[in-house]
Symmetry: D2
């Protein structure tokens, strides 16, 4: 198939978009604006929606027939922004047609489906990238750099809050709807060797819709630190905040403060072992230092997602957030669902792929 031959590295990647909803609109705009991609098709079961997305006076083609679009050899890659339940079928069809795939998170609704996608992409030598968008913001990248460079010291805890008056979903609960953001960010920033080892999930459905509308995830990490995630569809105030506390420095990322989203506190608790004493006696003291808000130019994460996708396709290297990252997310979500059925009991996490 012509579309399987590596194109010359400087030609834009021909891309088709599947899914003309809210997020699809953003993906389309970035595919159009990037010099590395060329948007050729918008496909949606509701072709009128696809038409509204491309707008008047556009030459981008629209269709409601996936196969018709997949048959186009100019299409090298497909961006899939459809409901999670459809990811596995659309994704497999695209991969089998020889296309590279950028998949909206979560990769699938069951780990088994995610594994089929990863295996198929591996087998056919296609790029399978997960759109873990926040990992492409300059702020999350900065947090990862600080963490990996040891600037924060030993990780002590992570606390993530993602609450607002949100769209109550009928198909999935608030964990599957919102926590993929927090969990994919944590997966991205954790220092080498530190992994979540268990997860406990508590939640409630006070408005009786048959789904958790608010939930708390608690995750002990392998180094003794604790991660906590609060997701909530029923909050009158919007909060998007993650605290990453280390023994040397602490970072607060408030995503609702444009221009000053990240603050690094040179504050903490100093613990000094008392010599000649039994293990638990330590001198404990405060350290209240300066705080710094680094100048980080704002940029659209989705633009970096599109660049990364195109670069992975052109160079053949795996993208920063590949299918395996998507699988780790799926496994964590499934473990959280198990904990829900076990009244919040801690469920062991086994994130790595079986050899």
């Amino acid at each position: 198939m012509g579309s399987c031959e590596p194109a010359t590295s400087d030609a834009p990647v021909g891309v088709a978009l599947v899914g003309a909803g809210y997020w699809g609109r953003n993906v389309a705009r970035n595919l159009l604006d990037s010099a590395a991609t060329e948007l050729l098709w918008v496909c949606d079961v509701d072709e009128a929606a696809a038409g509204r997305l491309v707008g008047r006076r556009s030459e981008v083609r629209t269709t409601s027939e996936l196969d018709k679009m997949l048959a186009d050899d100019e299409v090298e890659a497909v961006a899939i922004v459809t409901p999670p339940g459809t990811h596995v079928d659309v994704g497999l069809a695209a991969l089998r047609a020889g296309k590279h795939v950028l998949m909206e998170k979560p990769l699938a609704t069951r780990t088994a489906d995610g594994e089929r996608l990863v295996a198929t992409a591996d087998e056919l030598g296609r790029v399978l990238m997960c759109d873990h968008t926040f990992c492409y913001t300059p702020h999350v990248r900065r947090i990862r750099e600080l963490m990996h460079a040891g600037e924060l010291g030993d990780l002590q805890y992570i606390d993530s809050t993602r609450v607002n008056l949100g769209l109550v979903q009928s198909e999935i609960d608030v964990l599957w709807d919102l926590a993929p953001h927090d969990l994919s960010i944590m997966d991205f920033i954790l220092p080498p060797g530190v992994v979540p080892v268990q997860v406990s999930a508590h939640g409630a459905d006070p408005i009786k819709v048959g789904q958790w509308c608010l939930a708390h995830l608690t995750m002990p990490l392998s180094n003794g630190a604790l991660a906590h995630v609060h997701v909530n569809w029923l909050s009158p105030t919007k909060i998007r905040q993650m605290v990453i506390a280390g023994s040397s420095r602490m970072v607060v990322w408030n995503d609702l403060l444009p221009g000053r989203r990240l603050t690094i506190f040179d504050s903490g608790i100093d613990v000094t072992p008392v010599e000649g004493d039994e293990r638990t006696r330590r001198m404990v003291g405060y350290r209240l230092g300066d705080s710094v808000t680094p100048a980080i130019p704002e940029s659209e994460a989705l633009s970096a997602v599109v660049s990364e996708f195109a670069a992975a396709i052109r160079t053949g290297r795996p993208p920063l957030t590949d299918g395996h990252a998507g699988l780790r997310l799926l496994r964590t979500l499934e473990a959280a669902s198990m904990s829900r059925r076990a009244d919040g009991a801690l469920v062991r996490l086994e994130l790595d792929d079986a050899a």
Copy 2:
């Protein structure tokens, strides 16, 4: 004993303070400023500390001997602001000397000790009041009024955050140190008939001091709502916030915003049952209404605590936060400690006194 006779109702109550630490200083100031009380003694094992508290040019007496102060018939009541481990002994001594007691929270360090205090006060006909200070702020009173008047609709969730870079304690963990505030407030504001039924506690000690330094409490309530408390000694930023969400209105209490601590949101999720349909199908929609910050004059809670204590003594009625409220708090803290030992399993709460 003369001190047991009811005094005439308009004479100030003669009070002795036990404990000259940080909070004792605040209690002393309010006992001095109130027309309903007269501060007669400050007692501390370190008499120099008591001396520094009363300051120069004061006629308030100081001592390090509890018995000497208790022998003074002018002393009708004792305010106890000593470390929790000493509450039961100091409290019993005061009650047995015929004094009324205002006890700093928690009432004791074990439920059994709290029960002895309550029983002794009942038996001797003395007032035993718990200093659940926040219940005497105008803001918490307003929340209680809104809740009891049904202004918030059905309670959906409560989310309380009390974090900052705090004094790491060697004797007690962060739950026993900070959560008494959140739990006593919840006990005070919950609408009639709604009680917490279980508690799960997760936490961590990332700095290896032998105590939890951060913890999350999750408490299902009897009406299907969920309460959550996050307390943390290691947070670079200070947060004092409680969200109380109901089906009609939601309240956010941010105690770090003087003059505008309370905001009432006329927003929420509207759920409309779909007629003729099975139980789980409902129309769900947003309601984004105005938010109101009521004008609530600031006032010092401790001043209202002192007034309530004096009024309970003079009128013989139980104080708003009596020994039984203190017992409910103790039982919740003990259940949380049990959950900690059970790796976060939900522990059943039995808050009411056995007949």
Copy 3:
């Protein structure tokens, strides 16, 4: 000329855009998205810039030749987003070619030029609308409604702050660059019968670029109130705030708080005349009432600008911000410049057109 005939009222207005800079890009997007307009051309002296604006796969035509575009009979209207110094020439050319004109603010760089534009539009029966964008935000509209309905009582003062680290301009000073926003908003919201009567301008050029980089305008109003505007290119923090204080209520509009930009304070100073006393003796007291943040859905102002422009063209009625509003703005800016030359002396304003 065919383009002068009234089109049927439901056909979209064919529009050409002149100026492919930052703001032109926003105007273009709204012309494309609106059902009431059809973007036909983008014209810029730098045709490559026009090309980048329309993007790939677009059918919108581009040109660097104004006349070529004006010769197109399908073009009924022209949106002009060029540097202010060019407004008069481009505007007159468009009007004389029979086109309606939407002009970026300020209307011109001299009152005399503005008057020529207004007179030409009147003479030729064309719509001349000024893009006073902020007047089309739902928040400014709400302020105007409150003011006109008497909800705020008697106006006491207006205080507007528009400061940030801004692009220092070489052609115009900070007054002409930023104050048009504040002044056009004031012109729009002032209650009937209240007008600014004088203006004093103070400023400085501490970085020696030959232009004021920060300035303060003080404007006594006809009812005894005072308006003040602070504009500044050198501020490390960005502020976009206007306070409108009346005798009954006060409004704070903070444009950097999405979702809660407007707050209405039911607070103020109550002045009660003391009976039988000389004129100046009054009882003065505080009133600290609730504050309300009304739920105002966010919407893009420029979309309403485009709708208003199209509606004015199709119905023949004057737009909400017509050429006369543009002239009042120009006259105020010119008076401020006079005050600058007179070391801040108050300069009388004569805003109304001479008969």
Copy 4:
């Protein structure tokens, strides 16, 4: 007179307080708490108010008779916290009785009276200190250090805002009520050699109380920078903010953010002269750097005022804010009042004492 002899340097200074109002209460508390002072008397025309201030069980004496207190040889110094109109008479009486004087700001209501106080103190060798409280906060001290050390570069502008719903005064206008804070701070922090050279005052009395209730001061400085002060009794929101912008760094001091009142921005406008070009052509560009919130422990300014007063008395050196600082403030306020009578015209400032 015994009280005129220098006491041994480590004995506390015996102080009498005149004026038992709101601020007097704070001064009294600090005089009591300081080891360097001993509060002996509280004097007020309303002796009952003095009694309420000292409280029950105190040995501090009270009186309504100034002379009686001044006759007490144990009284070495007098803190005067009475209405400004009485400052000159009370102050002269105290100085003539051989007492050192700490005077609440403003020093007097007329420059001539202030000069009499300064001359009398000089003549009699007594300390005359002005209570410019804010100069004793650690934050203003830090700003002064930064400025004097050249850390901010060349001063570009100062912008001070001090507005809230305030007590409307019948005797003095808002300028004399609030601007003394801003002006005394500026006097304290300006770098050596930079002085205000003119002042223009605009204001309004929209509630017709016969006094300006809001005012704007604009003050060109000797180095080309501009200072502006906005004071307002009618503002629904409280703002206490000063921006000090230099060519290298900019400082924002927001006094309503405990724990993080000061932020230093490493941002600004960079101006590079273009070689070989005429004088006004320069390259102008942004510099968006990090911002830092230094860790500055909170401390009560009034405590430092009391220490400074006692130290000046014991060592014989002039206090940091002496009578001459008070005179510069008075001269600025009088010039602002002149500008008010001249409709806001710039009035020349002559701040230095005539030889």
